[in-house]
Structures are given as structure tokens and as C-alpha cells.
């Protein structure tokens, strides 16, 4: 070796989180204890160790997929009064005449559990015995912007940390060489970076975006993981020289934990460069696995790759992975105000990848402690809109499903009214879902607090109920 290398610092801190090098910035004695990404014990025994959130951006129609309402068939075309959420927000009026529209995809009972599901997602339907449906979700925000932020951050407008940031803050990381919270192909729209932002939590908890909505799956990588300008050997020489220069500089203030942390960050970056690149590379997966996710087929290739990447990241210790099926437009992906048949195109793109993910997680034993969450920022109305071929937003009642991670399989909870319009029984507010996701991870949503601006903040603000009824 040409140059002296001070390895003590980074070896000492090799157990820290993704890219984080412990130092208090205040005193040496506090440095070791202050790694904000060190794994932390949860409040209670966790049922899940990680989460995959499959975000169906724009609002999947629950009455066309999983919330079966015979009344819609019966009253198809009838004009009836509904308490429309948008009308209410705009005018304060509680009822408006609307034309009922029946589901476009026929329903049938599926699986051993006999849950109703339409033909919209034929592949996911094969896994219905593993799914836990929440049929009486309701949320805040009638428009995408507010509702999307509420889904991710628990606030329609205020700057608040996202769910993944809270999870990472609560649990720390399980792999120092990878980010603990990853958002695959996030949409820049409807809150954009705020939806995976740390807000007032320390910056180490922010989500790492891999790629962008609508972009190719090949873009889904960590920034600056490779050097486009220098060959591998030059990079190695670069690092060697840097080590040598830093070693000289540290001689003036030996043992300073803050400076050693900076030096150590380069060693960690170097390891990540090699370790993370492998995790992000799908080439090592078998043909069979790739096929399972629909990789290589036009309709499913992109989302299939993203779902497979999600599994690989989870396997490697990432706490919270979100995969977004969406785009950057103001009417994102599933937002069929008109032309509801277009739901079929989106369903085709995600159906097999999601089914593949569920199957793959299960056969690897990962589903047991991985919570899969599928859903949108809201559902859609049971009545038609405008030219009569689509449905408007519905935050008052919609369906999400969970799987694995300690929830009851083949189970359904909650009920909307006869039209599938408003949640009426065993309602689950989005905050309740947040509380429940944290609960499954072993985190008490009332105790997971962060003091900012003189106040203890929570993901669930001053609300939220753990839906214990769905916990297996």
C-alpha cells in the first residue's frame, strides 16, 4: 500500500445506517450513541419487519374491483341523490343528483375464502386467500393533491414527514449499505418530493427516490452510485489518494469523531458502490422469477421490474419500499373521470407484477414478516361523471388490501353503504391505517413522536386507531 490509511474511524462506525456516519457534532462521548439510523427496538413485538406499499396513483375504482355492490347493477342508470364529497367541499351542500353506474367488470367469489372480486385483476385474484381487505377506508382531501399528501404524510397541506420516514425514524435501518426508505418511481406531481420527504425529521430519514414515475425501470438507481466519467481503476486511485490526503489532514486533530466520520463516509460510499449496485441489478434473477413478475413482456415489464426490485431491496434489509404506479400528470394513471374502460390498461400493467410479488414473497418466506399494502389516495364514486363514461374521486369510502406481515389472510373488514359510496360500518380512516401499519411494525403510533418547534408531532396527529380486528 502506497499511502497510510486511517481505518480506525470507519471500522468503528461500520455498523451505522445507510450512509450515516455517527457523530454528535458536540462531543466525542456522545458520538457513538447518536447514530440516528442504528436499529432500535420497537415498542412491542413486531408482526412485520418491513413494508412494501404499492401505490396506485389516481384512485382505483373500488366498486369495479373489490367492493361488490349488487345495488349498482340493479339501479344502473337511475338518477339518485348522493352526498358527493366534492360538492360538499365546494358548496357545503350535502346532496346532489347523480347517475348510478354499474361496475364494468363482472364480480365473482374467489378463492377458499370466497371474497368477491371482479375480473379487473385476474392474477391478483388468485391470491385472494392471502389478502386482507379493508372495505371502509375513508380519508381527507377530495382532490389528488391534498389526498395524496394525506395518504403519505397524514396532512393535506402542512409540511409533515412521510410514513416511510416515520418508520425509519422508529426502527432504524437493517442494512448500513442501503437506504432504509426507498421510493421507486415516485411521481413528481401532487406533492412530489414531499410524499417521501422527512419534513422536520432529520434528513437521514428522507426517502431515497429511485427513478421517476413514467420513466424506464433502468433509471431506478441510487444517484452517483457509479462514475460516468472515470474508469473503475481511476476511481480506486482517486479514493486511495483521498485516503492519503485525509490521513494527513487528520493528524492535526487526531481522534476527532466528527472528522473521522467524514473520512469514514468515503469508505462507506465505496462499499455501497459495490454492494448496492448488486442489489439493484436484476440480472441475477432466474428466468422463471423474471417471468413471474411479467418482466420481458411489454405491458408488464416496467412495473414488473419495479416490483422485483422492491422484493430485492426488502430482502436486503430496506424497511420501507414504495412502488408507485403513476405518472406526473394532473390526472394521474388511475384517474378515470371519463373512459373508465382505461382501468383495464392499468390493471394489465400491474396485475401480474403484483401477483408475482405476492407469490415470490410467499415462497421465500418473506410474506410472513413483510407487510404489503395496496391502494390509492381515494376510491371512485359509484355514479358516473360528466360525459357518463367515468367516475369522480371518492374519499368517503374505498378499499385497500393488505397482505402478510401479521394481518388476517382471506379476511375482509368494514362495509360501505349499498352503493359503495360511503363507509358505514367498521370504518377505517387513513389515520387508522397509518396507526395500524405502525402497530404491525411494533410501533405505537401515540409514542412515536418527534419534538419540533416545541411540540411532539406524530404521524397520526391526535387521532388514529389501531384496527386490531384485522391483526392475525
Amino acid at each position: 500500500v502506497l499511502y497510510p490509511i486511517g481505518r480506525r474511524a470507519w471500522l468503528k462506525q461500520a455498523a451505522c445506517g445507510f450512509g450515516y456516519l455517527a457523530f454528535a457534532g458536540l462531543s466525542a462521548s456522545r458520538a457513538a450513541a447518536d447514530d440516528p439510523l442504528a436499529p432500535r427496538p420497537p415498542h412491542a413485538t413486531p408482526r412485520a419487519k418491513r413494508v412494501i406499499f404499492l401505490f396506485m396513483q389516481g384512485g382505483v375504482s373500488h366498486v369495479d374491483s373489490y367492493d361488490y355492490k349488487p345495488r349498482l347493477e340493479k339501479d344502473d342508470g337511475k338518477v339518485l341523490d348522493f352526498a358527493d364529497a366534492r360538492v360538499r367541499a365546494n358548496t357545503g351542500k350535502s346532496a346532489a343528483a347523480q347517475r348510478v353506474m354499474k361496475p364494468l367488470w363482472p364480480f365473482a367469489r374467489r378463492g377458499q375464502c370466497g371474497r368477491w372480486a371482479s375480473e379487473l385483476f385476474p392474477e391478483i385474484n388468485r391470491h385472494v386467500d392471502d389478502l386482507c381487505f379493508l372495505h371502509a377506508l375513508h380519508t381527507e382531501g377530495v382532490a389528488h393533491g391534498p389526498a395524496t399528501l394525506f395518504l403519505h404524510c397524514g396532512s393535506t397541506n402542512f409540511i409533515r414527514p412521510s410514513v416511510g420516514s416515520w418508520v425509519l425514524y422508529g426502527l432504524g435501518t437493517a442494512n448500513a449499505n442501503l437506504p432504509g426508505f426507498v421510493s421507486i418511481a415516485p411521481s413528481p406531481g401532487n406533492g412530489g418530493a414531499r410524499n417521501y420527504g422527512n419534513a422536520f425529521l432529520p434528513a437521514v430519514y428522507q426517502g431515497t427516490a429511485l427513478g421517476r414515475a413514467g420513466g424506464p425501470a433502468s433509471e431506478a438507481t441510487i444517484r452517483n452510485l457509479t462514475n460516468p466519467r472515470l474508469a473503475e481503476a481511476d476511481c480506486a486511485r482517486q479514493l486511495d489518494l483521498l485516503r492519503a490526503l485525509n490521513a494527513e489532514q487528520l493528524q492535526r486533530t487526531p481522534g476527532d469523531p466528527e472528522l473521522e466520520a467524514v473520512v469514514g463516509s468515503y469508505e462507506l460510499a465505496w462499499r455501497m458502490q459495490h454492494h448496492a449496485a448488486g442489489v439493484l441489478d436484476l440480472a441475477g434473477e432466474t428466468k422463471e422469477t423474471q417471468h413471474l413478475y411479467g418482466i420481458g413482456e411489454k405491458a408488464t415489464d416496467t412495473f414488473g421490474r419495479q416490483c422485483l426490485l422492491a422484493r430485492r431491496l426488502c430482502e436486503a434489509g430496506v424497511r420501507y419500499v414504495q412502488v408507485t404506479y403513476g405518472d406526473s400528470s394532473a390526472n394521474p394513471a388511475w384517474d378515470q373521470h371519463s373512459n373508465l374502460p382505461k382501468h383495464a390498461d392499468h390493471a394489465r400493467a400491474v396485475d401480474r407484477p403484483i401477483a408475482g410479488l405476492l407469490a415470490d414473497l410467499k415462497r421465500r418466506g418473506l410474506l410472513e414478516d413483510t407487510l404489503v399494502w395496496w391502494g390509492s389516495e381515494f376510491g371512485r364514486t359509484p355514479y358516473a361523471e360528466k360525459n357518463g363514461t367515468g367516475r369522480d374521486h371518492n374519499p368517503d369510502g374505498f378499499t385497500v388490501f393488505l397482505a402478510g406481515g401479521g394481518v388476517k389472510p382471506g379476511f375482509a373488514y368494514g362495509r360501505t353503504d349499498d352503493f359503495g359510496h360511503q363507509a358505514v360500518e367498521d370504518k377505517v380512516h387513513m389515520r387508522d391505517l397509518h396507526a395500524t401499519v405502525l402497530h404491525l411494525l411494533g410501533l405505537n403510533h401515540e409514542r412515536l413522536t418527534f419534538r419540533y418547534s416545541g411540540r411532539d408531532f406524530r404521524l397520526t396527529d391526535v387521532a388514529g386507531r389501531v384496527v386490531t380486528e384485522i391483526v392475525a
Binding site: N190, L245, E248
Partner: protein
Amino acid sequence: MRRRIVPVAVLLAAVFGPSALAQSDPRALELYEKKIRPVLAEHCSRCHSAEAAKNHKLKGGLLVDDRDGLLKGGDTGPAVVPGKAADSLLIQALHYDGDLRMPPRGKLPGAVIADFERWVNAGAAAPSVASRPGRGTSVVPAATFWAYQPVRAPAVPAVQDAAWPAGAIDRFVLAGLEARGLHPAADADRATLARRLYFDLVGLPPSPEEVDAFVNDPDPAAYEKLVERLLASPHFGERWGRHWLDVARFAESLTLRGFILKEAWRYRDYVIDAFDRDVPFDQFVREQLAGDLLPAATPADRRRQLVATAFLVLGNTNLEEQDKQQLRMDVVDEQLDVIGKGFLAQTITCARCHDHKFDPIPTTDYYALAGILRNAKALEHANVSKWLEVPLPLTAAEEADPKKPKPLAMSVVEEKQIEDAHVHVRGSVHSLGAVVPRGFLSAATRGTTAPLPAHESGRRQLAEWIASRDNPLTARVFVNRAWHWLFGAGLVRTTDNFGSTGELPSHPELLDHLATRFTEGGWSMKSLVRAVVLSRTYCQATTGSAAAAVADPENRLLARQNRRRLDAECLRDTMLAVSGRLTLDHGGPTFPPTLAADYHYQHTDMRRSVYSPVFRNALPELLAAFDFADPSMETGQRNVSTVAPQALLLLNSPFVVDQARAAAARLLATGPADDDGRVVWAYRLALGRAPTPGERRVALRFLGDRAGDPKKAWATLFQALFASVDFRYVE
């Protein structure tokens, strides 16, 4: 006082007396015990009982444990009006009639609701066992809490070591050290001091020539001369303006749909210009809060003042909120947040839904202030609402050329109808309480203030109240910010929170001394900076005595200067300065006016970082990686993180590699002819100092090994310097 209370109590007894008789009717009580109490216990008491209050789960302030609780009701008023089921909020809520629907998990069966109606109509008999839990939290008294006390000019303390202090600041600091038997650190050497001062005042590194000129200046006033030169530099405003832009949560787009705030750059330039021209801080406050309402001597002043009010509307607002009443109050809330923290270091918005739990800020104060801001129209409402842009007075050039686009500025417009605001019960726009006269923060107001005129919003008066010498917070908060920007930690380290949940000042008297000097000296921001950087406290080396390190590891007593992380802007600007690619253009728009959304914006400019477009969905990568302030939140203290993505960026990003290559080409073309001389030059360019013998050896050995390709070797060396520890810190 006592005599007043007694009749009220008697009156209450008189009002409730008759129905209270129903309590003793055994049949009515039986109905309660059989049909009502079990339902209340099962469906209501989880959130509305003394038990819930004990568990911090009480909602809406309502207690259903007993009759008194139901009659008194919660935030929305009495829950039960005995004898009148139709008028009873409880019954309405059970019917799921209006906004208030209880219990939230689903409407109760009709038969149960009928029982409740019967019971209320029969007089709502129930045991009366009044026991109320206390508030559970303690609020500091405004009369004694330090931050609300008037600023006084404290006597400058005597010190033992009379030779050390250069002025009053130093005497306050030294007195604190001596009281603990500690001594200040030695002065920093001149080269170190030059680098520190350049970064602190103008945010750029000194060139080797500039360092030499200072180090070799025999004039005893060499340091004072350098300070004056840098204070007068046109780059001072770019550096200090950027600090303020953190506080003002300045950005040029909204995350919602990436909307571009086309005119926001004018506000950025206004701020830079204000620091350059040393606009008095009180005027700076008034212009940002009420510039549109102030008299203007010239059209140019009018223009500046209008542009300044963009401060009020830079929030990252969710324009798509469909409930426009809600949106209107959310905008007001965001403004109060920035004004409260930015100027007053008060967390006012805690009082939106309830009285502040720790500070003496009642909800009525919140709505007194909200009432003022509510009268400033900030948005034009539509499905997606739109911020306002107002025309600016034209300059001569603009007037001469009719083809030139007419300039606009983000601003607010006074509402036609001036109103006081209602208290919003629990913060809800659909649950209005009493009207509150517009006014200011009561805790920070001594004596009485005149009521606000009925025909004016009160924004001008609010600005005056904040910018007043009598305001106990404003001057303290700003001098403390300046201290933070020059030392890396404020005298009150929680720069945005002077409330009881913030920290106490380490040197309260020094803080008041600075605040007094500040206001008495005409609120001059440059005089304030000058006073601090001329202190010996500021000029200390970053390494102090071992005794001080043990006694005061966090350096609260200032027995040394703090070693500080070079912030994101300085890091980038220094790389560009060393590569020779930095362009020093001043102001103006920095992205094409046709840009429709900020999505995936590619930052390619070579201007100072303060001019990089602050796009909330596409922050410049280097700035975001190195703890740039979140532009959606008022930020007085940035994060200081050490994460591997920073290292990856410095090792691998094309920007850094390109600057290193350009620096190498520049050195080989214009620097010394021999490698030894070049190594010295490279170190001086990048780190502001010559290499140590060891560093020289390492560099020369490396260059010797890579002699075949000097350009590449020098690029590697520069990049290593950019990534090195010393580059990333200011000593």
C-alpha cells in the same frame, strides 16, 4: 371580584334548577341507567370522559361521565339542552345530520337514538358528579418568562484580563469564562481568519493573492480594513440574503404539479439588495409584511416594497384543496408560522386548535393575528386556486418599450370587506366560535394597544408592532440569528423558538446588549455583523484549552470559535471558483420564462448557488445532498449531516469531476511550471493554505506515479482536495 362571581353562580343554579329536579325522579334516572349510560360508556367514553382525559385521549373537550359534563358540553357548546332534544347537539350528532357525526365508527340504531331523544326531552336526568381533570400542562407566565421581558441595556461587566477584550462583546464572553476559571483560545492565524471571514461575509473563498495581501499587511488595522472591504462587497448581500431566504422558505415552484413561481426571483433579488444596501432591519420587516400598504417616495421604492410582500405568499400551498374556506385559513396559518418563527421565534400556530400548551399564547391571540392576515387576499380561488401577481410601476426602460412584458410581482391585495376572525373551534373552518378583535401577541405586548381601524386590515400596524423597539422579541431574534450565522450556534441555540420549549440564552446579557446596540444603531444589519466579526471572541482559533473542552464540551461559553461545516452553497461556489468557471453575474431571472413545471429540471448554470432556481421538486442535487434548507419550511438552523450520498456525490458526480478537470487544466496553463510549485498553488486555491510537508510528499509521490498523464493526475488531485476534510470545514 368575589362579589361578581357569586351572583353568576346563583344565576346558574337558577337556570339549571328546575331540570336538576329531574335528577331525583327515579323513573327518569332508571331510563338513564338502563338505556343511556351503557351506550355512553360503550360508544362515547373512549374519547369523552375523565378517563380519556387522563390518558390524553379526550376529544373535543366533552366529558360524558355525568350530567354536568353533558350540559357544559365541549368546544362546540352544550351537548344536551334538557327538554329540547332537537336543539341538543348530542342528538344531532347521533342522527348523523350535519358535519358532526357521532359515534364516528357508525350510526347507532334508530331505537337507541329514540331512547336518547326521550331521555333528553324528559329533562336528561343523570347523576351530577362533577370532577374535572385539570389542564395537565403548565404554561409559563408572560409576566416573568425571559423572552417577553423588555430588552434592557445591561452594564458591561468588569473582567480580570482587561487586555483581552476588543470591545463590549468580548467582556460579556470573558466574564462568563472567568466565572468558571476558563480562558479564551488564542487568536486564529491570519490565513485561517481570512478564509473564515470570506466565507462568513461573502460566501466565497479568498484567492491566494487576497490571503497574501492580508497576511502580509503590516497595518495594525489590516483586519478592520478587510472587514470593511468585504462588508462593502456586492457579494455580501448574496451570502447574507441567502441566510434570510432560508427563514423566508423561499422557493420558485410549488410541489403541487410543479407550478413555477415565475416572479419569485424578484423577491430573492430584493432580499440580496436589502443586505447589500444595509436596509435597516425594521424597514426590512415592514416592507415584507406590508410593503403594499406603505407610502413610497419613488416608483422604484414602490416597486421594491411590492416585491417584498412576496414573503407572505411563498408558502408551498396546496392550491387544489377543494374546501376553499379551509384553504384560505391554511394560507393564513402558514403565514403566521413563518412570521411567528421568522421574526418572533414564537410557535404561534400551536394555538390554532387550542391554547398553546406551554407558551402564553391563547387561541384568541391566534385568531386576532389570523384576522389581520385573513384580510390580505392571497389567492384567486378556482378548482386549482392561483396566487396573485400584481403589476409593478414601470421603469423608464420598460415604459419606453411597449413590447417589453409588463413586470409583475407576487403579492397580496387587501380584501374589500375588512373583518375580524372567529375563533375556529378545534381549528375547524366549519365550527366557528366567538369573533376576536384583530390584534397582536398579548404576551409580547406591554400595556394596551389601540384597536385596529375598521377600514384597514391591520397588516401595517402588525408590521409596525413587530418592527418596534418595544417589541421584546424582534431585535433579540435577529441578533441571535446573526450570531448563529457567524458562530454556527446562536446564543439561544433554538433560533426559531424563544418559547418555553426552546433553549435559554447562554449569555442573556450579551443578547440584550446586542439587541440594544442593534435598535439604537438604527437596525443596521451591517453594523451588527461588523461588531461581531471585530470581536476577539469571533477571531479565536477553533482549538481552545483542554480545560475548556472538558468543562464546556458544547462550547456554550465560547472559549473558542466553532469549527463549522462549509455549507452547500459555499461548497459548490468554491469548486466553481477553483475551476475558474464561476460567473459572478448579479441578480435577474435564472430560468426560461416559458418553463411550465419544475419536474426533472436540469441545473446546468455556473452562477453562484444563491441564483440556482429553488425548485421544490428538483432542488440542485449538490445543494440537496449537503443539507440545503427545506424550502417549504421556515429554517433558522440547517441540518448538519454526514451521509454516504454526500461522499458518493463528491467521488462520482459529473459536476465535481468536471470542476476538478477544469481546475487541473487551469493550473497547468497558468500556474507554476514545476510540480512542487503547483502542489502549493493547488492547496492554496482549494484550501486557502499551503500544504504541510507530509501533504506535499503524498501529492508529489502520486504525481510521480502518474507522470504519463499530467492532466488526469492533476484532475484526480483536485477532486481529492474537493472531497478532503479540510475543504468541507471552516476553521
